[in-house]
């Protein structure tokens, strides 16, 4: 049996697919060599490794920072589907959900809105440096579900600077915040309309406070504080007061799809660990692998991985086709992947057993991080009504 299957493994027939596969191969090699040996230690120390980031972002290496940046702007110019495949490879190779999240936030969530909605000047200023990893972009994971949670940052016209804005408020859960050069921020106006901004870290009265999250400690976290920050008109991303139909739906879909992709690889890594445990642990005098409950659990683990991959790659492929991606398909892919990640982690934990003496303790970290993963992207409280509304014909448009 070829396990695991790779439904979106790029077709080797086209040059771009060949380049994408080379990037995936480099990602696999480098994460195995540099990331995986240090993952457990970085997790324990809550440590961000700049050297590792530099290696992963190297344009002559995996080029992870520029996967979705067009080649004309210094990026790898991959499709969304190919990017999912590489993020999947990153998750499996590094066995590090926090590293996967951090790189995904930069590579997809901070990059794509600039690519899709930025002015020519914004694209030319930010994207080449983001593609090389010189500049990292960050945002609050609370701002990826439109206003399902109350907005916490406000915008009002700057009295002294026509076209400028004064931003005020705080946003927590800013993934990659301590390392970021700039932030994607959505602010609410008095009339509840919202505008997206790209704000550089050196903006006066902008403060970044490093924070510790209980989960995903290898991703650097921060709270962003804006104390009446003046931002100029060129910081506006997309249309003034247009975030509700431009940046916000895009961010939701990007979050649901791309931050799920590393979990495909994490699930695959857990499956391998569980298979190994089934072959070595004994119960009632026989190998665990002889027990039907073990065999059934492993069959279900493998099946869940295949199903999640199919949904995620289907949703991602809509970015690569003409037309607008489906929020319902993206939400469904996230809902399934979250459920699968938790179930796979739980089954793997049962098979691996308590308190493994050696190894990198992926199953323990995954238990913690899968719970966190399940609560981001809005969790089921957001995903269920998004999917249901499309079925019921309720909601707009």
């Amino acid at each position: 049996m070829v396990f695991p299957h790779h439904p979106a493994r790029p077709d080797g027939a086209s040059p771009s697919a060949k380049a994408a596969q080379e990037l995936a191969d480099r990602t696999q090699e480098l994460t195995h060599r540099l990331a995986r040996p240090t993952t457990a230690d970085r997790d324990r120390r809550r440590q961000w490794d700049d050297t590792l980031l530099t290696a992963l972002c190297d344009p002559t290496g995996p080029h992870l920072a520029g996967l979705l940046v067009p080649q004309s702007l210094g990026g790898a110019g991959l499709t969304a589907t190919q990017t999912c495949h590489i993020l999947d490879t990153l998750g499996e190779g590094s066995r590090d959900p926090g590293l996967g999240l951090a790189l995904t936030v930069h590579t997809a969530l901070a990059t794509v809105p600039l690519r899709a909605l930025g002015t020519t000047a914004q694209r030319e200023r930010y994207l080449p440096r983001m593609a090389s990893g010189e500049w990292l972009g960050a945002l609050s994971l609370r701002q990826t579900q439109s206003t399902a949670s109350p907005p916490t940052i406000t915008a009002r016209p700057a009295p002294e600077r026509p076209g400028g804005w004064i931003l005020h408020g705080r946003a927590d859960l800013v993934a990659l915040g301590p390392q970021a050069h700039h932030f994607l921020v959505i602010a609410e106006h008095d009339d509840t309309t919202r505008t997206a901004f790209v704000i550089d870290r050196d903006t006066p009265r902008l403060h970044v406070h490093s924070t510790d999250q209980a989960a995903m400690p290898t991703c650097p976290w921060a709270t962003l504080q804006l104390d009446d920050c003046l931002v100029l008109p060129d910081a506006v991303l997309g249309t003034v007061r247009g975030a509700a139909t431009e940046t916000e739906p895009l961010l939701a879909t990007l979050d649901w799809i791309f931050t799920s992709a590393p979990w495909l690889g994490i699930m695959r890594a857990l499956t391998h660990d569980a298979l190994a445990a089934a072959g070595t642990r004994t119960l009632f005098g026989t190998p665990l692998a002889h027990g039907q409950s073990t065999r059934f659990a492993l069959a279900d683990i493998a099946t869940r991985g295949e199903l999640a991959a199919g949904l995620l790659h289907h949703a991602a492929a809509q970015f690569d086709a003409d037309g607008r991606p489906s929020r319902r398909d993206a939400a469904a892919a996230r809902l399934f992947t979250v459920t699968a990640a938790r179930a796979v982690t739980q089954d793997a934990a049962r098979l691996i057993g308590p308190a493994a003496a050696d190894g990198d303790h992926l199953v323990e970290r995954a238990h913690r991080d899968a719970l966190f993963f399940a609560s981001t992207g809005g969790g089921t409280d957001v995903l269920h009504p998004v999917i249901a509304a499309s079925l019921l014909g309720s909601g707009r448009p």
Partner: protein, 391 residues
Amino acid sequence: MNTHHTFPGIAARAARTDATGSIPPENWQDLKDSGYLRLFHPPHLGGTGADAATQVQAMEALARACSGTYWSATVSALLCAKLISTYGDERHHRLIRPLLTGDRLAAFAIVEPAAGSDPATYRTTVRPTGNGYTVNGEKSRITNAPNADLAVTLARRDKPADDTGPDWCLAFVDLNQPGVRRYDIPHMGLRGMPWGGIVYTDAHIDESDVIPLPFTELAEGMTWGWLLVSIAAVATAESALTASVRHARRRISFGRPLAHMEGVQAQLADSRTHIDAARLLAHRGAAERVAGASARDLIGMLKIYATEMSVQVTARAVQIHGATGVTQGHEVERHYRDAQMNVIGAFATNRLREQIAEHLGLGPAVYRPFDWLTPTGLTHDPVSLDGLTTG
């Protein structure tokens, strides 16, 4: 030919087909006219050689119209015809063509009364007579058994000591002969689908219609069956979800439509997600299979997930419909009964989990008789808080 593969007439007769336990002749005429039976095979066998996506779309459309009709037609035109074309040769094309025109119907006779998928219990045996072969034994719980013209029959080979060939064979048995008796078995779901047993008593088989086969090949051939069943499951789930959405939008409860209730929305969203997951895997598995790959493990996974998913989705549909959903003759009541049939048919899902586990590297299933608990001491109750007491 109906290139859109919709079956409005068959759908309109689905409730009656279920209630009477019989597929009406008009359904077969619609199937012939639609070209459905020809989709799965190349032109030299009388087929139209549709691509994988078209095949899956047509299969789901027919299964949504009437799952019982779908099972009967697709077991014959897809599964049985594939088994004949895969393991037979040009001499057997004469058997395939009438299945694709709809003039004859086939059954895949594998299970016997003693057990389901355990071949050790199978007794049906083919013996040489000098003028071909005879077959003796009983096959049970077989789709199309009561009215099929041809049975692709799994049997043991009664072979001489110097015959080193396989112990098993597929025998293409003409069922319209004196040595064959058929019977119906009432069943919970898919009631329109003919289902029952076949008793062979010295039934004749032409010499060319006995194909020696290693038993391990069976799972390979059965993969078409797993795909068939999985698509039936997806279709049943989709029909149940469609009915649920319709009901949730119309039904007013506690002053608002059911659709406004978060709990109902969560059920609908979960069903939508799970059906999509299964359908995508079905398309992927079919594409690999039609392209010539085995895809056996992928389609095995699909069969496990899709059929059990369909049971969950139809159960949710019944709950959303409330008492209406458990009323005999209601659409979702039929889907609820049909869904469970797919879990069991063509290898029960737990049997397939064993296969997937084996191919994941766990080795073949190991059976040992219980009791493995007594030697561990876990069969003893503990002493009381005061220790061992007398009296």
